[in-house]
Structure formats: structure tokens, C-alpha cells
Symmetry: C2
Subunit: 220 residues, 2 copies
DNA sequence: CGGAATCTTGAGCGGCTTCAAAACCTGTGG
DNA sequence: CCACAGGTTTTGAAGCCGCTCAAGATTCCG
């Protein structure tokens, strides 16, 4: 569960305003591995993740999925719905675990954005943040090695979505997802992770990585 | 020179509203090869290109420039200035030719955005468009060959910034810029372009490419 | 005309990917 | 409780695309 006052989308809004906005939302529960929105579907709704975990990715023409980001409680997706004449969603969102999601439809969002200009501004801020993270990823892709990108991807995921344990930071993720985040093949990902395991930097098991030495990860 | 009514940033605004917004801008001229904004500088201004041509790129940590887009009249940059507490510009903008630019400072933009909500919405639309184009580029980078990416980059540049001649479409661009747009080394770019020239698809000279058969480009 | 910027060409090679196949986990249902 | 089927991970071998590096050719401009 998230703290409404720390949701980026609500930055700069008063408690009362946030209450009203939240009241205008509909709440829905999704089981794990459910696809909430699909690429190019008309952007009719805005979503705010309340609990759980959602993967956001784009599709290549060959149908391959590229994981862009693992969304956590407090994150929004479907920002396209802020536009008066939205095109289609730019990506696909699929739950990783059972999740609770707040939903506003297009009409409601339009009305709220007009009433609370700050909301529209925050939507822009969200888009710009995505843009910046895209830029970083692109830079990494053309100027870092597969190993460096994987280290980055794992570190970021650890600091955002990791569970703190006495032995280190635990991240629930499959090789395949890490590979996609880092733009690396699953074979390369497996080899590099295995190498880190031999060096005692991480600990691996199916669908799980335990980061023992976060600092060594980025140093390697 | 652009037609105000066809500027994306002004979509959905009345002639009169556009007039007022334009009147609030300051106009400046920049000589060719002048750097208007730099990455990470505080985002204090919004820019609208009136005439000329501006390259927008990002910087790697090693200082290499990655060309993201060649901006044409009617394009905006520095959208970050729409935020009440802007961070820094996300990229660097440098004139390619002598250019006239309209400029709004942060205070003015904030005020205009509050008066004309549609303006803020259009800023979001711009950001989302950039995002979509980034996504396409990323997909190309991980699932197309250098040759395909170069064909794409050249085609797009041709249709946006090309001069229509009887023999074909002329694009004023250096190998280096094309290479950067396509995320390819300048050597690979040179080799592929030369190959297309041998096949009669394009015609090359220093700082210029003439596309003879646009369709063959994407087919090859 | 000189010099700087741009473009070409060749050789070599290395980091990743692809492909195939086997080993390994893990939750499910009999 | 065990077995099995599905998804996941590992490992090896082979190959290639595009990069790097070096050097020269060409074009343009002052």
C-alpha cells in the first residue's frame, strides 16, 4: 500500500484535493499475470498502482516483449489518458503479483485536470521522468557492455523493488526479466550472473537474486 | 517560417489565444552552430523554433553526443520549463543553420499554462510523442541490423527535412549525423551509404545525400 | 594554396547472439 | 507422497555483425 502524500502524481496538491481525486477513482483487483492494458489499445483510462507489482513493456514487430520498468505501488501508467484525444497506449502492463489498482476514466481525468492544473503538470513530470530514464538506458545500450548494463539493471531493481535481508538485498526476478531490462540475451545474463555468484557477489536461485555486495556489482 | 495554426503546441487553441501566447514570447536569432541549451542546465526557458534548424542530442558520460532529433520550424524544446520546479534540460540543442527562435521564460510559461490549460496538455502530448519515438528507436536498436536502422533514419530525415528535387529527395546531413541518428559507427554508415550509391539508390556528396528511390531504401 | 573537416577503405578481432541440448527446479494432481 | 510436466536455467560450440584502429583520399573554405 502506498502513502497518498508521497505519490508523484499528487505532488503539490493538498490533502483535501487528493481525497477528492482519489474518491473519483474506481478500484479494481487483478490476479497475477493479468494484462491490464495492451499496446495501441485506445487510451481510455489512467491507472495508479495501489498494491502489488506490474511490469510495463513494449512490443517489437516480431512480438518480442521488452521490459521497460517494473512498476511499484504509487506508480501511474496510462498517462496518455490525460490527452483530450488520446491515441493508444504506448506499452503493455501486466501484473506480476495480485494487485489493487485505482482507475480513472478519460472523462473524469479530463475534468480533474481542468479543476486541478497541478495534476496535469504532474502528468507531464511523469512523462519527462520516463523520458530521462529512457535516455539513460539508450546511452547505456550504445556505450556500456552487457555486463555493465546488467549490473545497472540489477542494482536499480534492487534499490527500488528489493527486500532487505540480513544477508543482502533480495530481488524476486527471473533471468529473463533482468535480461530484458538490460537489453541482453538470456544466455549472456545467465553466464554473467553465474560469474558473479562464483565471485560471491550475488546468490542465485530460480526467480530470485540475492545481492550480497551491491558496491562490488557496479565496480565489476 | 512556420504556420502558427499548425504548431503542435498550439493545437486546439483559438487564433486569438495563439496571438496572445505568441505576443508573450521574446524572439532571438542564433547563428549557425550555436549551442542554445546544454544538458543539465536549469530549465528556465521554453523554445519554439521559428525558422532554421536545430539538432537536439544527449551526452554520454564520455562526452559523446548522440543525436536524438533534427528539429524543424514549429518544433518546441525545453518542455521541462513547464514544470513549476524544473530540474535541468535533458539534452543539448545546437543550431545547424542560422535560426530564429521564440522564447518564453519560466514565469511566463507557468502563467500561460494556468490561463490556457490546453497549452499544458499539448506539452504533455509533445513529451509523449518524444517517448513514442524513443521507444521506436530502442526497438530498432535491439531488433534491427545497422543497415535497417540507417535506412530508417535516412528515410525519416528525408520525409521531414528533405528538399524535393526532380531527381529525388535531397537531405543536407553529414555521415556522422546519420550515423548517430541510427546508432551506428561512422565507418559502417559510410560503407552502407557507398553500397546504396553503387546500387543507384542514393547519391552522395560531402554533407549531402540524394535519395533516388525512397522505396528501395526500406526494402533493402 | 594550405589546412581542416569529411569521407573512404582495409584488416583484424572480439563481445554477444544464436542454436541445441541437457540439467534443474517447483508446483500440481493423482 | 511421489512423479511428472512445465517453466527455468545452464553450458558449450560456432559464427557473425559491426566496432576499432590506421591510413589515405577527397572536398571545401578561407
Amino acid at each position: 500500500m502506498f502513502e497518498p502524500s508521497s505519490v508523484q502524481l499528487f505532488a503539490g496538491l493538498s490533502r483535501e484535493e487528493i481525497r477528492i481525486i482519489l474518491a473519483a477513482a474506481e478500484e479494481r483487483n487483478f490476479k497475477k499475470f493479468y494484462t491490464i492494458i495492451r499496446t495501441r489499445e485506445p487510451a481510455t483510462h489512467l491507472f495508479l498502482l495501489k498494491t502489488g507489482c506490474v511490469d510495463f513493456y513494449i512490443l517489437t514487430e516480431q512480438g518480442r516483449e521488452i521490459l521497460l520498468r517494473r512498476l511499484l505501488p504509487g506508480s501511474v501508467f496510462g498517462v496518455d489518458a490525460f490527452l483530450s484525444d488520446p491515441a493508444g497506449y504506448m506499452g503493455t502492463a501486466k501484473t506480476v503479483t495480485d494487485s489493487e489498482v485505482l482507475i480513472w476514466n478519460h472523462r473524469v481525468i479530463q475534468h480533474l485536470a481542468r479543476t486541478y492544473p497541478r495534476l496535469a503538470q504532474n502528468a507531464l513530470r511523469t512523462a519527462l521522468r520516463y523520458l530521462a530514464s529512457y535516455a539513460r538506458r539508450h546511452i547505456g545500450l550504445v556505450s556500456n557492455t552487457a555486463r555493465e548494463r546488467l549490473a545497472w539493471a540489477l542494482s536499480r531493481l534492487g534499490s527500488r523493488a528489493g527486500h532487505l535481508l540480513p544477508e543482502g538485498v533480495e530481488v524476486r526476478v527471473r533471468n529473463e526479466d533482468l535480461a530484458s531490462l538490460a537489453d541482453v540475451s538470456i544466455f549472456t545474463a545467465s553466464r554473467i550472473l553465474k560469474d558473479w555468484e562464483r565471485k560471491g557477489i550475488v546468490d542465485k536461485s530460480r526467480g530470485r537474486v540475492l545481492i550480497r555486495c551491491p558496491e562490488k556489482l557496479l565496480a565489476a
